[in-house]
Amino acid sequence: MKIFVPLDSAAVALGADAVAAAVAAEAGRRGIPAEIVRTGSRGMVWLEPLVEIEHEGRRIGFGPMTPGDVPALFDDPAAHPKSLGPVEDLPWMRRQTRLTFARVGVIDPLSLSDYEAHGGLEGLRRALALDPAAVVEEVVASGLRGRGGAGFPTGIKWRTVAGVAADRKYIVCNADEGDSGTFADRMLIEGDPFCLIEGMAIAARAVGADRGYVYLRSEYPVAIRVFGEALARAREAGLLGRSVLGSDLSFDIELRVGAGAYVCGEETSLLNSIEGKRGVVRAKPPLPALEGLFGRPTVVNNVISLASVPVILERGAAFYRDIGIGRSRGTIPLQIAGNVKYGGLFEAGFGLSLSEIVHDIAGGTASGRPVKAVQVGGPLGAYLPPSRFDVAFGYEEYAALDALIGHAGIVVFDDTADMLAQARFAMEFCAIESCGKCTPCRIGAVRGVETIDRIARGDAAAIPLLRELCDTMRAGSLCALGGFTSYPVLSALDHFPDDFARQREAAE
């Protein structure tokens, strides 16, 4: 009997380890040889811990499970009160286009043979058979853009790095995932780490790099453990090392753990951090593509950008490009979080409206109260009111609303949210996390908190000051930390003026 129990952080936080232990104990008690496979998560967080059993070639789900629910699994699974039926048939699964996350929650993340049996390594094999320039052009043609936030075309970045000669080039994977409401990088690394390794190896082949780094945040202990183990197994199996899969590609990856600084997700700050320096932002130019890690040409890409490359190589650029809308091609793993009934990871082609996401997919708020606002794109993303929920999920579509999709985190708030408090938090966060290099960000954020406190005390004259301050931070900051803090602040002010005015009445 094969029983699948997630090792994913969210599942573990909700009790998956205790459920796995109960499965082992019950199997032992009954003398049944049970193989427990720890997997990633399917992304249906409200059903975690979600346990699966293989039955007639299908995976039957049970959840959310407690240790007390375990014994009945061994009686008649079909009659189990927590039975959900075949997992693939659940509406949440059926509505998705799972490409990057196809294997997450399905396979044993640390089994290379499982990985290969589910299509793994086909992209890399094809890349190794192609001319490196053809690999770059395949990624360009796919329309893949950076999933870390800025949305820069991945293939174009690779072309730049491929085009310069250097004694050493690097592939750096940005796994700092600091945005609130995001966990796609974590889920991918915990659930399918070989996919990231494969994507990085393809990148190395394409641009002529021989060394890679994964900069993974310290807040993700499970991902750190899984990825460290995956690296060791990849080396053992010849997926990394002097001759990748027996080819002439020499490539290895080192895992670096961050130290709790949000700004280190910014690519130049991240490079400084790997170099062992303070994580301050570097002025651009030079672009990291030309002078990056230790001054060498460097590809810096988000986890999801890199993990989307294997399927592009495997199935071809056209297949990927045909999904999506406008200049947003392919799929995007939406991360639905905050006050929602059904939260988790939902991979779909670009183009869903916020209304579909929040109401149909997420089922509205967990509290049952009306939705007041949704913050898309992390702490630097705008707060959008329900009147804007028809916006289609895409880079340009959000930019047109003075908003951004960022890393595709979607945080839902009900009507108890105080948008002045949210604006204040945005400034406070910027003040705490500023690297300190530029004044508009370092000082501006502190002034921002003070100015919002004045507004809260009923000083309406401080509102224009806040706008001016946001303009200064936006125009004068070295990076998007100071530059984009205006998005949450001004969107809160513009869309929810009552929350800034009501305070004045209260004070009078």
Partner: protein
């Protein structure tokens, strides 16, 4: 034991750690992590040892150490409770949990209770945003916290 007293054998242990990582490119962060893992914090006395071994100034090492929120210059309490303060956890009631915990422990963020039982640290996202409010207690991940669950956790830990 006085918190700032230099643990015996510190310099030797730090030199060993530095040697373990000497082959890395840019080894300072891994070294600081390892020193903190060994001593529970990064003791002042470790900085000149690291600096000398890596051919850096003491000010450079100090500057790096103080830049990152993870590295502490003082030992923590016997337990460390991290509570997520970021937006998704705010949306699901995180502020109320934090307020209850701060009142219960009588400390603010970064504070340690007088008896040294618990240090309270803020964290900005643990990637548990679809099952918040989230936290971490001595490395154990926590989801769907509420004031009562936090209270029970602290009581169990003897705080």
């Amino acid at each position: 034991m006085n918190a700032q007293a230099t643990p015996p054998g510190l310099a030797d242990r730090v030199r060993e750690i530095v040697a373990d990582y000497a082959d890395l490119e840019g080894p300072l962060l891994p070294i600081l992590h390892e020193v903190q893992a060994a001593f529970g914090h990064v003791p002042q006395a470790a900085l000149p040892v690291i600096a000398e071994a890596l051919n850096l100034t003491r000010a450079e090492v100090f500057g790096v150490m103080t830049f990152y929120h993870d590295f502490r210059s003082e030992p923590a309490g016997r337990h460390v409770l991290k509570l997520c303060r970021a937006e998704a956890c705010q949306a699901s009631g995180g502020d109320a949990v934090a307020a209850a915990v701060r009142a219960r422990l009588g400390v603010d963020w970064h504070g340690t209770t007088r008896d040294g039982a618990v240090t309270l640290e803020p964290v900005f996202c643990l990637g548990l945003c679809a099952c918040g409010p989230a936290g971490m207690f001595d490395g154990r991940l926590l989801a769907r916290l509420d004031p009562a669950a936090a209270e029970a956790l602290l009581t169990e830990a003897g705080a």
